[in-house]
């Protein structure tokens, strides 16, 4: 009986201990990355290549998704607002939801599945094919040469992509609201502008996306570096990157939103 209880609790406890252990390793990994970041910043071309890899290659999916999300928001929002005779507030609705929430969060989710998985796969494959070991034996630290540039590339790309997502979304809302539904362009923009506060809304959105960028990039490089050096290991790590990042983004979003907007 006692044995059974012990077994039960250790079965329940095991995932928690594992998660906690992993969190510890990831934190130590983050410190190692920060310690070895000088190369990535001094030889900025290395980071430039990673911005291209993580950022430029994600632009298309981010821009197109942003446009569509903005269009759908405008269509749905118009339908509701027009019942209250408030259709001129459509710009506020679209821009506020994008700038505060959807831009950073949906942008981050897309970034995690487009760029995060690619980063994990690339590092994982380099590990599986002993490229990282080879680098180490050539007295080149793989964290400084490979991991840190990828990390910073992701961190720099994320806020820019989130801003593009919001901007494209607002543009999509404009197309639907003004061009299709015939709202007045002047009041669309001016209502939006007077209702949205730069610090409270835009800046907080940008801060959110910076947090998400750090989280996704860290998870992606960590999972890649931690992956078992086999084909299954790398594919598993790629999946874990997307799943863990998505959960962390949504969890962080709750925390950050509660912290930023609790007074309003």
């Amino acid at each position: 009986m006692v044995n059974w209880i012990v077994k039960f609790f250790s079965r329940v406890g095991e995932p928690f201990t594992n998660a906690l252990l992993k969190l510890g390793f990831a934190s130590r990994f983050l410190i190692a990355i920060l310690r070895h970041s000088t190369t990535a910043l001094v030889r900025f071309r290395l980071t430039l290549r990673e911005i291209w890899f993580a950022g430029v290659l994600s632009v298309l999916i981010i821009a197109v998704s942003g446009l569509f999300v903005g269009m759908v928001l405008a269509l749905q929002g118009y339908d509701t607002l027009v019942r209250f005779g408030a259709s001129s507030s459509l710009g506020i609705l679209v821009a506020l939801s994008l700038v505060r929430e959807l831009g950073p969060v949906v942008g981050a989710l897309l970034f995690a599945s487009r760029a995060g998985s690619a980063i994990t796969a690339e590092i994982g494959l380099m590990k599986a094919t002993e490229q990282l070991s080879a680098m180490e034996m050539m007295a080149v630290n793989p964290i400084a040469r490979v991991v840190a540039p990828k990390f910073w590339g992701g961190v720099i790309s994320m806020p820019l992509l989130a801003a593009m997502f919001s901007a494209m979304g607002i543009f999509g809302g404009y197309i639907i609201g003004v061009q299709l539904l015939g709202l007045d362009a002047g009041s669309f923009w001016s209502q939006m502008q007077s209702a949205i506060d730069f610090q409270q809304d835009v800046l907080n959105g940008v801060i959110k996306s910076v947090f998400f960028g750090v989280a996704i990039s860290l998870i992606a490089v960590f999972e890649g570096f931690d992956a078992p050096p086999t084909a299954e290991g790398v594919s598993g790590a790629t999946t874990r990157t997307v799943v863990t990042s998505s959960l962390v983004i949504l969890g962080l979003d709750v925390l950050l939103t509660a912290f930023m907007f609790r007074g309003v």
Partner: protein, 269 residues
């Protein structure tokens, strides 16, 4: 007596509970090519990782050029590794860089040389492995043997004191095999370095090495020159050299009696 390039002194190593190396001692002098042979899982790759400082011995000392690798701090370790060159089993070329950039990689990362000198050095190293013509190709355009020669050119780019080869003959056709073996010997003589070749390939390695070390279950069971090894009557060495299926290294993994597991005993009884 000159300092040996690599020296193992009663090295013990274990992954957790399972001991991989027990009291391993041997030396490799400059100019020597030494083959380390043993079955799969006998701790050969661990040996290389101990020299490179990617693993540290539980007890004993691994010395490279007189420096105890296990005691070095991170920066000293990276400094020591400049004396090493390593050829990985499948080359481990950087897939996003061209052949030229792969060979230039250690030069660019470790030394700040003018571009013209880097260019000369890269072409020299590629010429040494006979692949100057492949300089602008990407690694995925190379055959296995060519990839390994490029990796070799990259490994010797900094003129290392010690060359480590991890299974350099695996998966090569007979021609590439001969070429690789010849290159290992020639480069070693030209650079005056010491080479350690971890391998299963008896015929090819006996032809080029000065000394052979046999590892089994983490212990050195035999060592000597190729001639001594060929003449050896130790059962393990004989089994390995003649590739017999059964001997001191058993064909069967220890198991319960065959008949018993099939349930035959019961029927007969």
């Amino acid at each position: 007596m000159p300092i040996p390039a690599v020296e193992f002194e009663q090295v013990r190593f274990a992954y957790g509970e399972s001991e991989v190396l027990r009291d391993v001692s041997f030396t490799v002098a400059r100019g020597e090519v030494v083959a380390v042979m043993g079955g799969s899982g006998s701790g050969k790759t661990t040996l290389l990782k101990l020299i490179g400082g990617q693993l540290r011995p539980k007890s004993g000392q691994v010395r490279v050029d007189g420096e105890a690798v296990g005691d070095l701090g991170e920066s000293a370790l990276y400094a020591m590794r400049r004396k090493l060159g390593m050829l990985f089993q499948f080359g481990a070329l950087f897939t996003d860089l061209s052949v030229y950039e792969n060979v230039a990689f250690p030069l660019r990362e470790r030394l700040s040389l003018p571009e013209s000198i880097v260019n000369d050095l890269v072409l020299m190293k590629l010429q040494a492995v006979g692949l100057r013509g492949a300089a602008q190709l990407m690694p995925n355009e190379l055959s296995g043997g060519m990839a390994r020669r490029v990796a070799l050119a990259r490994a010797i780019a900094l003129d290392p004191l010690v060359m480590l080869y991890d299974e350099p003959f695996t998966g090569l056709d007979p021609i590439s095999l001969g070429v690789t073996g010849k290159l290992i010997r020639e480069l070693n003589d030209a650079l005056g370095s010491a080479s350690i070749v971890v391998t299963h390939d008896v015929a090819e390695s006996l032809a080029i090495v000065d000394k052979v070390v046999f590892l089994a279950d983490g212990v050195i069971v035999a060592h000597g020159t190729p001639d001594e090894v060929r003449a050896s009557d130790l059962p393990f060495v004989k089994q390995f050299i003649n590739s017999e299926t059964d001997g001191p290294v058993p064909f069967h993994k220890p198991a319960a009696p065959y008949g018993e597991e099939l349930g035959l005993e019961v029927v007969r009884g």
